[in-house]
Symmetry: C4
C-alpha cells in the first residue's frame, strides 16, 4: 500500500446520492452523528478506505480478530425520498499534511464515481457552549448555504478555519465540480459531545427532509453530562484541597513569625 | 492533488513582466507590501497556486463560503512604463522542507511561462530597529544588485540566511535562467510591520521607476505603533506590579525576622 | 535506495513455510524470541531487507567493518515436520508512518513469493506483570486463533491496539490472502524481557508442534531479574535519601522558628 | 527540483580517483579537514550537489549574491602519485531520514561515474578527549581497514553507530561495489575542533602516501583552544558568582533566625 485506496465490497446502484462525512475530530461530533445515522437508518457497508497515512497500529476486534485502521462507506436507500445517502466515517484522521490532502481527494474521487453531487461534512466548532449547541454552516455554493440556513444553521464567522478532512473536502470539492456543505456543532471539544451531534442531526434532517428520531441520542447525552459533572466535582474538590493546603501553610508562617 | 499546481483563471498578455513575491513571514512585511501594491495599482487576479504542503485547513470567506489555502497571482498593465507587473502573495508558506522547494520551483516555472526575466522577493530582516527600517538587498546578479543599491537598499551582511520562499526563489532562479532580487525590510518581526513594508516599497518604487503614493500605509503604521505602545504599557505595568509585590514580600520578611 | 527492498543471498526451496517475525519493540520480546529460535534451530540467513525508513546511521561490526541497519530472513528445514520456518528479525522498526506500512508490505510480498500461507508476529504487551507472563493472541482468521488458544494463548481484550510491524502485518495480510497470527508476551516493557519471550516461545512451540529446549533462556532471565533488582534497590535508596533530606529540612525550619 | 541532483561544472579526466567526503557534523571535523585539503592542494571545483532535503534557506555570499545550500566536489591532480583526489564538502547534512539516504546514494552514484574505487568519509567521534585525539576507523573491507590501522588509526568499538552521511556512505557503498573507509577524529563535539581534524589528516596523509603540511591548522587550533579557555573562565566565573550569592542568602537566613 503506497497510497490511500478504496476497496469496494459490493456494487450498488444509488439514486441521486448525497454523501455525508464525519471522521473523529473535536468532540467526536462528526463520528457520533454518522454512527447514529448508520444505526437508525440501518445503512449497509459497501466500501473501505485504507491509507498509509493513518497511524501505524491495528485494532483488535471482538473475538481476537484484527484489522487495519480504515474508513468505511455505508449506503442507505431512501425509498420514499429523492436522494439515497452515502455515509462515511472511520477510525482516525490522516497523521500527515500530505495524507490529509490525499484522503480528502480520494473521498471526493469516490463521491464522483458514485455520481454524488453534494457532499456534507460534519465536525465540531470549539466554543464555550452555554445552552443548546448551535450549528455553524459553510458551503462552496450560495444556494446550498441558503438551504442550510433555512434548516436553522447559522453562518460561520469570517476567517475562521475548518481543520482536517471536514474542511479540506470543502476546499477540494470545487475542483471535482461537486458541491459541499460543512455543518459544525458547537462543542467545548475535549470530551465526546453527543449533544453537539444531536444539534447537527436536527439541522441535517431538516436540510434533507428526513424525519429522523433523535431521542436515541438522549441517553448518550445524559451519560456525557454525568461525566462532565463528575469531572467538575473532581476539579472543585481539588481546588478546595488546594485552598485548604494554602491556609495550613499560612498558619505555619504565622506560627513561624 | 498530489503536488503543488497553478490554476490559471484567464490568459493575459504581459509586456516584459517583472514578478514580485511576498508571502507571510517575519513581520508580514512581504504580504503587507504586496497587498498594498495590489490595492494601489488595482491589480487583477489571474491565477491561483494550490499545494498539499499548505496547512490542512480551509478558511471561511465572507458569506459562509469556503476556500483552500492558496497563493494568488495578480497582474498590472503598466501602460506608461516598460514592464508590466505580476504580484504574488498568499495565505501561508509551505509546512514541509520538500514543500518549500516545490512551491518555489512552481512559482519560478510559472514566471518562466509568463516570460518573466526578473523576480523580486520581499521579506523581513530581524533586527532591533531604531529609526526608519533599512532595506537589505541580495541578488543573483551583480547588475540587479547595483540597481537595488542605487534605489537606497543596503547590502546584506555576509553569511546571513534568507529563510523560506523569499530565499529559495533566489537560490533556484539561476537554474531557470531568471534573475532574482530579494528586498528585506528591517523588522522586530513579532507583529505585523507596515513600517518595514513602507521602506521596502520606497526602494521598490525607485527600483522600478514607479511613482507610488505610499501615504495609505501611514494609517496602518499608526495603528501598529499604537498596538506596540499598548503592549509596552502592559509590560511596564506588569514590571511595576512585580516590583511592588517584591517590596511587599520584603516587608513581610522584615516583619518575620 | 528510494524504497525498501529485499536482497536475496541465495535461493532456497522451502516446504510449506511459516514465517515468524520479531523486530525490536516493547521489552524486545519479538527480537529475543527470534534470536533464540535462530540459535537453537541453527537457522541460516538467506535474505536482507534494507530501507530508507530505518534510522540514518550504520553500525560497526566486529573487526571494524560496517553495515546498514537492516532486517534479516533466516530459514530452517524442519526435516521431520510439516512446515519449514522462515525467521525474520532486524535492527530497528521504521522511523516514519509511511515506512511502517512500506516495510510491512515488503515482508508480506516476500512471504507471498516464498509461498508462505501463515505469518506469525511476536511482540510485547505492556502490563504490570505479576507472575508468569501470559501470551495474548490475535489473528486474521478464527481457525488460526483457535489453534493459538489451544496452545495456551489467551484472547486479546477488545479494542486494544497492536503497534508497529507486528500489528500492521496482521492488518495487511488479508490483502495478500495470507493468514496471520500475533503473539504478544506480557511485559513491563522498559527493559529487555527474556521471560516474556520464553512465554511466547512456549506457546509458539506448542502451536507449531515443535519440541524446543527453552532452558537456554533461563540464564538471560536470571541476568534480567538481577538488573531489575539492582534498579529497584537504587530507586529505594534514592527514596530513602530524599526522605532523610526532607527530615533534615524540617529540623532546619523548626530551628529557624 | 524534486530530488537530489548533481550539476557538473566541467568534465575532468581523473586517474584512479579516491573520493574523500566531509560534511558538517560533530566538531565540524569532516568539514574542517576537507576545507584544509582543498586549500593546501589548491583543488578545483567541478560539480555541485543540490537537494530539496537541505534546510529551506539560502545564504548571502560576499557582495550580496545568494546561493542555495549545496555540496561541492573538488578535484586534485596528484601528478607524482597513483591516485587523483575528489574532495566533497558542503553546507549541511540532509534534514530528513529519506534525504540522508538519498544524498548518500547520489554521492556514491557520482563516485561510480567518476570511476572511484574507494570513498573515504571523515567525521567526529564523541568522547571526553584527554590528550591528542585518536582516529577511529571502520571500513567495508578488511584490507582497507588494515591499511588504515597501519596509518595509525585505531579500530572502532563494536556496535558503536556512525550517524549521517559519513556512516550511510559506508553502509551503501557495497551495493555499488565501491570500497569505503570512515575516519572519525575524537572530539567533544560541541565546538569546531581543528585538533581532531588534524589528527584525521595525519592518518589520511599516511594512508594516501601524501606529504601534507598540516602546520596551517595550528593557528586554528590555538584559536579554538582560546575559545574553549574563555568559555571555561565564563563558566567558572558564573559558578563563583552563584556560590557567592548562595553565601549571601545564607547570611540573610542566619540573620533572620
Amino acid at each position: 500500500m503506497k497510497e490511500t485506496f478504496i476497496k469496494e465490497l459490493m456494487k450498488v446502484e444509488l439514486k441521486n446520492p448525497i454523501m455525508i462525512e464525519g471522521l473523529p475530530g473535536l468532540g467526536l461530533v462528526g463520528k457520533i452523528a454518522i454512527r447514529y445515522l448508520i444505526k437508525k437508518l440501518n445503512a449497509q457497508k459497501f466500501a473501505h478506505l485504507y491509507s498509509p497515512h493513518f497511524p501505524y497500529f491495528v485494532l483488535v476486534n471482538k473475538k481476537g480478530s484484527v484489522r487495519l485502521l480504515r474508513g468505511t462507506f455505508y449506503f442507505w436507500k431512501n425509498d420514499g425520498g429523492e436522494s439515497d445517502l452515502i455515509l462515511f466515517t472511520g477510525d482516525s484522521q490522516a497523521q500527515t499534511i500530505e495524507g490529509q490532502y490525499e484522503i480528502s481527494n480520494k473521498i471526493l474521487d469516490f463521491a464522483k464515481q458514485c455520481n454524488v453531487k453534494l457532499v456534507i461534512t460534519i465536525g465540531g466548532y470549539r466554543v464555550e457552549v452555554k445552552d443548546k449547541p448551535k450549528v455553524i454552516a459553510a458551503a462552496t455554493n450560495q444556494n446550498v448555504l441558503d438551504r442550510a440556513l433555512k434548516a436553522d444553521a447559522i453562518i460561520s464567522p469570517l476567517g475562521s478555519p475548518i481543520v482536517g478532512t471536514a474542511g479540506l473536502i470543502l476546499g477540494l470539492a470545487p475542483f471535482k465540480k461537486i458541491d459541499a456543505l460543512c455543518l459544525l456543532g458547537e462543542t467545548r471539544g475535549y470530551l465526546p459531545d453527543p449533544k453537539a451531534a444531536k444539534s447537527v442531526l436536527e439541522v441535517l434532517s431538516k436540510f434533507l427532509g428526513l424525519s429522523l428520531d433523535l431521542s436515541g441520542l438522549d441517553e448518550e447525552i445524559a451519560k456525557a453530562e454525568n461525566m462532565v459533572a463528575r469531572l467538575h466535582k473532581i476539579e472543585e474538590k481539588r481546588a478546595l484541597q488546594a485552598e485548604e493546603m494554602r491556609r495550613e501553610e499560612d498558619k505555619k508562617i504565622t506560627y513561624i513569625s
